[in-house]
């Protein structure tokens, strides 16, 4: 049979499909959104687990699904510990609810923060079901055990989970701390490639993202926002806009004074009966703006200014060891370099979208948010409502990358719902998304290294200037704190006797936000590139130089060097900085490659390694430069992230991180001219496409039973420097700035 025939056969069956689709959507927000609502209670064994009389086990996913597979991975852990049959598990997306603990799906911490808790929740559910069965049989608890969705007595009697649900739900919660957990050899699902629960729906379009929510009577809103941070609306043409087809209301949104926080930007909203009319109606607004103080911000000149500052003189010392100036004075070879990186935008495929409906004394929000609890808080504050009266439903997220950690778009929807008295959906256009992002910060770094007679690193001086994220929450904040410097710049793991790390001030002129792997992006680019420069100056193979400079196996502690290393919020006792594991990913990765072997002219290998989000990653790339064209031919990634729940999703995150890193290295740049973002859509803010994807993308996971560490972000930072280092190996040309398409066609 041909595809064409199959398509035709499908065509014949389409009437029914279409009709059921209509029923589904017509019954919103009830049934079609049922999958993302908290389930009715009464059969609840604990906060995360309910068992229905028919045996269906409902497990709450309290983290946001934006592509990491977390809606599958954490429920997979619960199901394993409770001996549930995965085919009878239904995952229910939790509402914003402080009882769940933090729902902020960011910082690559869902598994590392909740792996143990989810095991306990599963074990607690299992214990309740076992006790219910023992009670029913008047048997000793030690004679019964849960196994594959049943509780089984030693004598062979069995009861299904569904048969025990009602009794189990009445039992007091077991003592979580005393619950026995499975031995890892008994795992049914942990460590297995379970397909994501949304796979079928994602392949048939039967999904509800933020942009897909439909509430009866809702209006669609599109907002023209201030082109410059803190700009003000002076006037706009309300009457002309109201006359546009489909437009039903035009409402000014008042911006808040700095700090920006998660407040709505100043702007004018056009509300219409459909998205197209709302977007089109904006062209009649004719807004006159007071552009404000940031209208002098020109990013090119500003980044040059930062680069001059870090190259010229000392800043505030963040960490110091030995006598760096003296050691540089004695060094046989001095290497100096300055690196700069631009602003970046997130550009998740689904732009920010939120729906608000105020009714019966509550405000319901449906949003593609990484932070339902922050959404709840700020919407409550904005509307002057009690937090409990704000009900936040988390839809699927069409990508997040940190953008959707900021609930400003839900605030917009809530404000407009209040003004109109109707349900309102705010959808950002791509232009809105690129121009009004919480931008990944620009950065300048200066490095000076001294090599001794043996080509060993004897001194490391580094200075950075980066408009900080803290400016979002504290107006005027203009220097990186230790938490931000802990993202690689301050935590360099090198066995060098003399080092000094310094920060310079850098004022923020745009909203700065976190983007997948955050400050590790610029800092690992600087560190990883400079290590390569040092290796070549020392006449050593870069791999050997990395291993030699990381030095002996040891656990690092920076406290006696004046640096408060945040270690991603975890203690060094629980998550040591282990140089053995960092060297491990380098050697394991290069052992899979023909590292050090000669390549055809114009080709080169580049390497970089970093620890971020408590995980250790090495990336190697092979590139070719031919007639001014840069092609990335192969990308290889080795990750040590401790215990792995779902290896396939970890590989997927690593594959994605390679492409994310490729995008920003090759093409990522947002410029500001007179305070306005220059780029606006994928034509001038390109991201990697399939034809730019290397033919070979290989990812490897280091087997480990160490505690689970981050997966979503750590693959990104080493990518850009590995490419820059490969370019040097291929051409002798050192690239100290991205995007690389300033130098090569890509």
């Amino acid at each position: 049979m041909t595809i064409r025939k199959i398509s035709r056969r499908r065509f014949l069956a389409l009437t029914g499909i279409s009709a059921s689709g209509m029923v589904l959507m017509g019954s919103l927000p009830g049934s079609a959104l049922a999958g993302i609502l908290d389930s009715p209670q009464g059969d609840t064994l604990n906060l995360f687990v309910s068992v229905k009389a028919d045996g269906v086990v409902e497990i709450i996913a309290h983290r946001s699904e934006m592509g990491t597979g977390i809606r599958t991975s954490l429920p997979q852990v619960v199901a394993d510990e409770m001996e549930a049959d995965w085919s009878r598990v239904k995952v229910i997306q939790g509402l914003a609810n402080a009882d769940y603990g933090s729902q902020n799906t960011d910082g690559s911490r869902s598994v590392r923060d909740f792996y143990q808790i989810m095991r306990q929740m599963g074990a607690a559910a299992r214990a309740s079901l076992e006790l219910a069965a023992a009670n029913r049989w008047s048997a000793n608890i030690s004679d019964v055990a849960a196994s594959n969705h049943q509780v089984v007595h030693q004598d062979g009697r069995r009861l299904g989970f569904g048969e025990l649900a009602a009794e189990a739900a009445k039992l007091p919660l077991p003592d979580m701390a005393q619950l026995p957990l499975k031995e890892s050899r008994d795992f049914r699902y942990i460590g297995k490639d379970i397909p994501i629960v949304d796979l079928q729906d994602m392949c048939t379009g039967n999904t509800v993202f933020g942009i897909d929510v439909r509430v009866p009577g809702m209006l669609f809103a599109s907002i023209e926002r201030t082109p410059v941070l803190q700009g003000k609306v002076l006037s706009f043409d309300k009457d002309a806009t109201l006359k546009a087809p489909g437009v039903v209301d035009v409402i000014k949104i008042k911006g808040q004074p700095l700090p920006s926080g998660f407040n709505a930007l100043e702007g004018v909203a056009v509300l219409a009966s459909d998205s197209h009319s709302a977007i089109k109606g904006r062209s009649r607004l004719n807004i006159s703006w007071d552009r404000g103080v940031h209208a002098t911000h020109n990013s090119g000149a500003y980044i040059n200014e930062l680069a001059a500052k870090v190259s010229a003189g000392p800043g505030k010392v963040a960490r110091e060891r030995g006598d760096t100036d003296a050691a540089l004075g004695k060094a046989k070879t001095i290497v100096e370099a300055t690196y700069v990186t631009p602003y970046l935008a997130h550009a998740s495929m689904e732009p920010p979208a939120a729906t608000a409906h105020i009714h019966d004394g509550i405000c319901e929000i449906w949003a593609c948010t990484q932070t339902p609890q922050k959404t709840q808080q700020i919407v409550a504050t904005t509307l002057g409502m009690d937090e409990k009266a704000v009900k936040v439903h988390v839809t699927l997220l069409g990508g997040g990358f940190g953008r959707k950690s900021k609930p400003d778009f839900s605030v917009e929807a809530a404000l407009l719902a209040r003004e109109t008295g109707k349900p309102v959906q705010v959808t950002w256009t791509r232009e809105d998304d690129i121009r009004h992002d919480y931008f990944h910060s620009c950065s300048a770094q200066y490095y000076k290294g001294g090599l001794d007679d043996g080509g060993k690193l004897a001194a490391w001086l580094a200075r950075e200037a980066t408009p900080p994220i803290s400016s979002l929450f504290q107006a005027g904040a203009n220097i990186q704190n230790d938490g931000s410097l802990s993202q690689s710049f301050g935590s360099i793991p090198f066995a060098v006797e003399n080092l000094r790390l310094e920060s310079h001030e850098a004022d923020a002129h745009v909203r700065i936000g976190w983007l997948r792997s955050v400050f590790n992006i610029p800092y690992v680019f600087g560190i990883g590139s400079f290590m390569d420069e040092l290796a070549h100056a020392a006449g050593k193979d870069p791999r050997d130089f990395w291993l030699e400079t990381i030095g002996a196996d040891r656990e690092l502690d920076f406290a006696d060097e004046g640096f408060k290393f945040s270690n991603y919020g975890r203690s060094l006792a629980d998550f040591p900085y282990d140089t053995r594991r960092l060297k491990g990913v380098i050697t394991r990765l290069t052992d899979t490659l023909p590292w050090g072997k000669a390549l055809p002219a114009g080709q080169g290998w580049g390497l970089c390694a970093a620890r971020s989000f408590l995980s250790y990653v090495a990336v190697a790339t092979r590139i070719e430069v031919k007639d001014g064209r840069l092609s990335v031919m192969e990308m290889h990634c080795m990750m040590d992230a401790g215990t792995i729940v779902n290896p396939d999703r970890v590989h997927a995150q690593m594959e994605g991180a390679m492409i994310f890193g490729l995008s920003l290295a090759l093409m990522g740049e947002i410029d500001f001219k007179e305070g306005e973002a220059v780029q606006s859509n994928f034509h001038d803010y390109p991201v990697a496409r399939l034809n730019q994807t290397p033919n070979i993308v290989k990812t490897h996971i280091v087997p480990s039973d160490a505690p689970a560490s981050g997966v979503g972000e750590p693959g990104v930072p080493p990518v850009a420097p590995s490419i820059a280092n490969a370019i040097f190996a291929a051409t002798g040309q050192r690239i100290r700035e991205f995007p690389f398409n300033k130098v090569f066609s890509v």
């Binding site: 049979m1 041909t2 199959i6 942009i211 897909d212 069409g398 232009e431 997927a652 496409r689």
Partner: protein
């Protein structure tokens, strides 16, 4: 105007210049087709118009009058189209948002070119952006779907 969508004739009372994307999403509640850029740059809104992949955000609804439109909802009800099967077997989606468009582009490619070369896959699929970076698996899945189709033909 009358448009046949997923085999069913629909009567739409909207302005002729409304993009097909918004007609599908806002007027017919077929939200499987996604908005990504509004400029034909990302492919998230890809549907078939008389069998050819088009960007519905750049297709005025009037251009679809009297034509057959196939959306992701109509490709199959149960993900049994060879492209969907291959997508599932390779666990292609991450966030899933762009995948309707990816699948529709891939289905149109294989309908036209049952055994595409690497260059033909690159050419047909490079209009569809996936910010999660599922491209390697998309390539694998298309090749697998192509083989399956070949076996079914044999």
């Amino acid at each position: 105007m009358k448009i046949t969508i997923n085999g069913e004739e629909q009567e739409l009372d909207i302005a002729p210049d409304v993009p097909l994307l918004w007609a599908l999403r806002d007027h017919l509640q077929l939200t499987g087709t996604k908005f990504g850029c509004g400029k034909g740059l990302c492919g998230a809104c890809t549907v078939h118009l008389n069998g050819a992949a088009v960007r519905s955000c750049q297709t005025p609804v009037s251009a679809a009058e009297g034509s057959d439109v196939l959306t992701i909802e109509g490709l199959s009800s149960d993900a049994s189209h060879p492209v969907q099967v291959a997508w599932k077997e390779n666990n292609v989606p991450q966030c899933g948002y762009c995948q309707s468009g990816q699948i529709m582009s891939a289905a149109a490619l294989l309908e036209r070119t049952p055994s595409p070369s690497d260059a033909e896959i690159d050419n047909a699929m490079s209009g569809n952006i996936c910010r999660c970076g599922t491209y390697t698996r998309i390539r694998t899945a298309i090749k697998q779907a192509s083989r399956q189709t070949g076996e079914e033909q044999a």
